[in-house]
Symmetry: C2
Amino acid sequence: MENTINIGIIGIGTVGSGVVNMLTEHKELLKAKVGLPLQVTKMVSRSFKLESPIEGISMGEEPYEIIEDPSIDIVVELIGGLEPARSYIIDAISKNKAVVTANKLLISQHGFEILKLASERGVPVGFEGSVAGGIPIIRVIRDALIGNEIKMVRGIVNGTCNYILTKMFNEKKEFKTVLTEAQSLGYAEKDASLDVDGIDSAHKIAILSFLSFGADTRFRDVYYEGITNLTYGDLQYAFDLGYKIKLLGIAEKLKDGISLRVHPVMLPKDSILAKIDGVYNAVEVVGDYTGPTIYIGKGAGSKPTASAVVSDIVDTARSIYQRKKTKKGFSFLPRITKPNIVDISELQSKYYIRLEAVDKPGVLAAISGIFGSNNISLKYVLQIERHEGKTVPIVIMTHISKEKNIKNSLKLIEKLDVVVEKPVMVRAVDNETQWSKRRYGA
Amino acid sequence: MENTINIGIIGIGTVGSGVVNMLTEHKELLKAKVGLPLQVTKMVSRSFKLESPIEGISMGEEPYEIIEDPSIDIVVELIGGLEPARSYIIDAISKNKAVVTANKLLISQHGFEILKLASERGVPVGFEGSVAGGIPIIRVIRDALIGNEIKMVRGIVNGTCNYILTKMFNEKKEFKTVLTEAQSLGYAEKDASLDVDGIDSAHKIAILSFLSFGADTRFRDVYYEGITNLTYGDLQYAFDLGYKIKLLGIAEKLKDGISLRVHPVMLPKDSILAKIDGVYNAVEVVGDYTGPTIYIGKGAGSKPTASAVVSDIVDTARSIYQRKKTKKGFSFLPRITKPNIVDISELQSKYYIRLEAVDKPGVLAAISGIFGSNNISLKYVLQIERHEGKTVPIVIMTHISKEKNIKNSLKLIEKLDVVVEKPVMVRAVDNETQWSKRRYGA
């Protein structure tokens, strides 16, 4: 139909169904806002079949029925993964179709290639659904804060990890117990490694970084650590010291480059990010004019992600509405520069360290000697229980120290006969918004 | 210049200077993002003169030099107030110029008239700077959550009140002391009534309401109360009961209409909104697909507001860039409906009530008798000190009650000989996100 924006959806999962429902339920509202009706005309899936047909939507199994259909204006890719998703998107853009995707893995690795092609073709590409579902963080950074030089983006961007950390702390349970529960409830994947090892957060921080800094940063540039070695005890010790532990993704612009990293952080327990619990996500963006701004919402789920995909469809539809008249679409291409990535070893922070060591005379002296010779001064040393000859936890907070000195010390400490497990280390911050100023001596 | 977006600014205050600085500092960045350079070519002010001229900007005193200049694409109105700002904007739109304004008073009263004219003319109008400066809340509601039916918007939208309440609580000071300090520091106006009486918040909630609900709601539809009758004692009693008091603006869609109101609210002290202190603003938006989302940032100030105005300039410039080719611009016109406004007397809530009463036998019985005969049951009654024959505070928390019953009771209680001051009443909520479901029996 000439006077309709026709949409084809590749991949029918929970998000795809959510998109169809939202477009159907709010059909009149959206028509009023776009100027033309939005109509899903085709959906394809190789694995899934609808129980009953939906009026006006033809179902198929072959993605190229959508990509090569001249009547389709917008191709929505919701199958996820690198291939064949990448080829579908590249081929759709090559056929001058607008593309909307929620594929964080793909965008975090091939975002630049895709946006470059889209820009050359004058074709809009939306990927709001790829980061923090219900929080419109892509649009905020791309449009709303557009006049700002972004200094830092950081946040809780993986709901599974946040759910696990929240449960561990509230219910005094260990990581594996909570993970197993979360898996049986469907809150975590059977293979949870993408989430709990920090990889998913690293994908998202790569995307937020290239949007914020207009720089060619990708997943491979992000240093990441997960939450698998944290115990309930660590969360409780942290709390007793005035902190909550959260897994943060962080992208910040420094004098000499960009630092991209994902790792657990001890945040002051009264700070906003420390209060974000369960499946909620929160992203803090610091612009040079706005100062710090924070965005909070549900990070995943069929409905919040559908909301993100639909907002992209509307944005895209508006520019198609214009393009139908001008033959030239709006496109977004960040300035492509390859920045210097500052290594994690350059980080400066306070550090929480927990050791499991045999309680005997001379142990603390040996440990503090190693820290001292690495220029690390200790703020607290808490030996929780005293059981001469048994293994006891020793909890240490350092003053601000260099990451490379910490890691050197831990390597030496690990080799001590009296230390029985790999030490646990968590970086700590005291002041929420001033954090980035203190590190790297900047 | 044909290949430039030319901007004229009416009103040179702190925001105007911020806008010029931002456009100058980030000139290249913005040019890359818009596709054309953005150039301020004229600024006018009747009261203010620049000490030294700015290259490329002609200065004047007559606003119609901008409004009637055919080379100007975007008119930025930053003088505030109803007239002559309204006429300038109407005349600019009538000359097919795009308009950007940060004028909350004007938009809260004449927003519909202005948007209607703009829509007929196909001219874009931006007003991001009118609500919550550094928080891009207009764009979030208008674009990012576009597929959602918005159920509720509420938030801390007046930085002056939030600063005063924060200071009162943290420094154990009374309202008048803190207000005087804030005035001498320039954080509050000499005539602070617009802020502390809740009027400014009511302007903003009127704007957020018409954006969220696409309904013709204006300032006159908003019930408002300020913070002038709150004492340090009220904030401390509330805290002891587990709450912080914040001035909230609230717009919510109910079964039988829309409720628009501004009044102090007791929020659970662990909730996100309760943690927003000082000059920060926070707005919570509940969409049917996203669920609750929260947006936090600086609500006022030259730089955050300049950021909002510049994001409107960019958005507007992009549509002009299109319009130069299509002769048709994008415009935003909410569905104009006149909704039923639900009266505040229909509210159901818990209520905190503080009375100053003479401590003598029978006083509590008389007071609780009045509540009882109005169907109000009391959760706590705290008589803070005992001084037979002297005036003492009595703090009461009710169970969920009807506002009209509370107000009837207070009228009767006020007339008791033993009650020496007008009672203070603050509405309380226990569950942050579930709040709206509980009231109105909905």
